[in-house]
Each structure stands twice: as structure tokens, then as C-alpha cells.
């Protein structure tokens, strides 16, 4: 027997399924909240922080990730306030400055309204979103790769750096990785990094979109947005 709770997201009253996250509920109802480490069929870890929303409790608003927040009766959520947009834009800026060599990351930057990158570019090939680790563990239960190290040295690796023989090379980790899709203009060389921003039309979503509506933008394809469930390249 499914239970429901009433929540308010961006002013809209929503009949949400108890036990689901605010992010899943919002996407289900066509409210676009940008996200990166969230994948519909995997657990949520709240690592990328892009899906932040304002949760108003007792008159005070708290910034929290919508993927780890479960819906509760009477909850009031705002996904697109000035404050949230600014924070999200800054986070996306950090991401694209770190790893611009991916269409997914560039799409996220556009979607979150990044107009300029104020940090020196780097050209990393992993954003530590953990999608590969989780798909290997949760879908295939193989646990061939995982997070290793800490802080700046945190990386994804096989045990002792060598692919184990119980890895069947199913390539699910590669399919789900946001870094495997190069930018539309082609791979970016070291030292020549730039902010793409070409999907001008999509910029409107970040700024002027009527509150809460999802427009099935092409950007979602890039980072496997929740609306594209099941459509993996």
C-alpha cells in the first residue's frame, strides 16, 4: 500500500510518494533540478551538491541536497531561488574548471548559468561522481572498482591498481561515466581548455524559465538527467 505525503515545491502542491527523495519527486513532476552524481537506479550519495534546494523549516531555510532528503508531510522546498542559483553556479564553475573535457560537465555549466570561469583550468579526467563505483557494486555486485585514498588524493581505482579477473568487462562503468562524452567540438587538449557555452538556447532555462518546468532540454542527454531514465548511450 503506497503512502503519500503532501509537499510544496516551488509553490506547487505535490502529492508525493512517502519514502522517495525530494529530487526524484521533483523530476517526476517535471521540475528540473540539476544533478550529476544522481542516477535513478542507483543509491544517492550527495557528493556533487548540485541538486541543492532550500528546505524551509520553522521559518528558517536550510540549504540541503534534494537527493538525500526524503519527502515529509508539510515540507516546503524552493529549488530555484537567487541564493540557490548562485551557489549552484559556483559549484558548476568549480566542476568545469576542473574537468572541461566532457560534454556532460560543459552542459551542466551552461544549465547552471556559468558565464565565466574565474579559476585556471585543469584537465582532469574524473570528477569523482562515483557513478561507476555504484553501478559496479549495486547493479553487478562485482565491486571491482572503488574509491581509494582521501581528500585531494581520492581516486577511483581497482584493487591495488590492477583490474581483477572477476571484472567481466561489462563496461557499465564506462557507459555511465559523464567524462566519456567529449565536448561537441572535439576533445580539449591540455592547456587549451575553455568554457563552451554554445547551447545558447538552453541558457534561458537557467535564468528565465517559468518556475519549475522541465523542457526536455538536450543538455539532459549529456549528463544522463533523470528524465532520460534508461537511455544510456
Amino acid at each position: 500500500m503506497q503512502q503519500y505525503v503532501n509537499v510544496t515545491i516551488d509553490g506547487a502542491k505535490i502529492h508525493a510518494i512517502k519514502g522517495t527523495s525530494v529530487l526524484d519527486t521533483a523530476i517526476e513532476y517535471g521540475i528540473c533540478i540539476p544533478h550529476l552524481c544522481h542516477v535513478p537506479f542507483l543509491s544517492d550519495i550527495g557528493a556533487c551538491r548540485l541538486c541543492i534546494v532550500e528546505n524551509v523549516v520553522n521559518g528558517r531555510s536550510k540549504v540541503t541536497t534534494s537527493c538525500t532528503l526524503n519527502v515529509e508531510e508539510g515540507m516546503v522546498i524552493w529549488t530555484n531561488t537567487d541564493k540557490i542559483r548562485k551557489l549552484r553556479r559556483n559549484l558548476a564553475e568549480l566542476l568545469v574548471a576542473q574537468a572541461p573535457n566532457s560534454r556532460a560537465i560543459q552542459d551542466i555549466a551552461v544549465r547552471c548559468g556559468v558565464k565565466e570561469v574565474r579559476y585556471p583550468f585543469r584537465n582532469e579526467d574524473c570528477v569523482l561522481c562515483g557513478r561507476c563505483v555504484r553501478v559496479c557494486e549495486e547493479i553487478w555486485q562485482a565491486r571491482a572498482k572503488g574509491f581509494v585514498g582521501r581528500g585531494k588524493n581520492r581516486r577511483v581505482d581497482y584493487v591495488f591498481g590492477v583490474r581483477p579477473d572477476f571484472c567481466k568487462q561489462c563496461e557499465a562503468c564506462i557507459q555511465i561515466c559523464p567524462m566519456t562524452i567529449p565536448p561537441c567540438d572535439g576533445p580539449i587538449k591540455d592547456g587549451e581548455e575553455y568554457l563552451c557555452g554554445k547551447c545558447e538556447a538552453q541558457l534561458m532555462i537557467a535564468e528565465e524559465m517559468p518556475l519549475g518546468s522541465c523542457s526536455w532540454c538536450k543538455l539532459g542527454e549529456g549528463f544522463g538527467c533523470g528524465r532520460y531514465v534508461g537511455v544510456l548511450r
Binding site: 565491486r143 571491482a144 572503488g146 574509491f147 581509494v148 585514498g149 582521501r150 581497482y158 584493487v159 591495488f160
Partner: protein
């Protein structure tokens, strides 16, 4: 009584995943580092996936995944020691020995490590070596300590605080 073998360390802890850190601590203390073989044995005996053992061993600073030098010099880099120029001592050691923190000298004699606060702040700057605390360190004392270790085969006594 100090356990000496992997078997003794695992005794009473089999199939208990929450004992992972305790087991790694004992192995680190007994063998000086956590070898790949040790990790495989732990994984089998404790029932923890190997990737998870590797993950935990690589996460915590207490565990070394490679053998260390014969003498491990640990420099405290806590705030109180930093304000007393502990970083200059660390620089001196790395220049003098030609290794970065975490590395071993080519002759296998020395490793340099740093730790974020030993909690003996009033006595800083502090350098420890095999459990001995050398306090109120100065560049001259450090040079002397390194030379003494290099030349001596026996255990180094602590330097008494000069009155």
C-alpha cells in the same frame, strides 16, 4: 602481550567486519606496513570485500602501504608547532635527507612523516622517532639527531630538556 603473527592478530576477530581498523592497527604496529598479502588475508578472514580493505587502508594516515625507513622521523605540524616554525624543520629534514614526506631515503635508513598535532603543544616544535618525543626542536638539534641515528646502531635516548 604483543601479537607477532597475522594469525594471532586475526584471532577472535574472524567474520567481524567492524574489527577491520583494529586489525589494520595491529598489523601496522607489528610489521611496519600493510602488505597486499596481508590485505588479502584480512579480506578472507573478516568477510570484508578486498576493495573495501584497500579503501580503508588507503584512507587512514596511520597505515602505510609501503615499508618505511629504519628510522621514521615524524614532525608535528599542528598550529602551536607551526607558530614555532615547525615547517622550517620539516623543510630542513626533507632537504637534508633528499626525500619528501611519506618517502624513504634510497639507503632505506630514513622516512619523513608529518602528523597534524600530537597534543603536546606546549613543548613544540616536536619530532618523534619510534615513540620518543624530542621536544623544543631546533635546526641544530635536528641535525644532531639525524647524524646520531645514522651513526648509531643502538637506540637513541631522548634529549633532555635543557634547563
Amino acid at each position: 602481550m604483543q601479537p607477532q603473527t597475522l594469525e594471532q592478530i586475526l584471532e577472535g576477530r574472524r567474520s567481524q567486519p567492524n574489527q577491520l581498523i583494529e586489525v589494520l592497527q595491529d598489523i601496522q604496529r607489528t610489521f611496519g606496513y600493510i602488505s597486499q598479502n596481508a590485505m588479502r588475508t584480512i579480506s578472507r578472514n573478516l568477510g570484508v570485500p578486498l576493495i573495501e580493505v584497500y579503501r580503508v587502508a588507503s584512507f587512514y594516515k596511520a597505515f602505510r602501504l609501503k615499508p618505511s625507513g629504519k628510522y621514521v622521523l615524524t614532525f608535528c605540524t599542528g598550529t602551536a608547532c607551526h607558530v614555532r616554525n615547525a615547517n622550517l624543520l620539516l623543510d630542513q629534514a626533507t632537504s637534508y635527507l633528499g626525500v619528501q614526506p611519506g618517502e624513504v631515503t634510497t639507503d632505506g635508513q630514513f622516512s619523513v612523516e608529518h602528523v597534524n598535532c600530537l597534543g603536546a603543544c606546549a613543548l613544540g616544535p616536536i619530532v618523534t622517532e619510534d615513540g620518543s618525543y624530542h621536544h623544543h626542536m631546533t635546526p641544530a638539534k635536528l641535525r644532531k639527531l639525524i647524524e646520531t641515528l645514522r651513526n648509531q646502531k643502538t637506540e637513541v635516548k631522548q634529549y633532555a630538556q635543557t634547563k
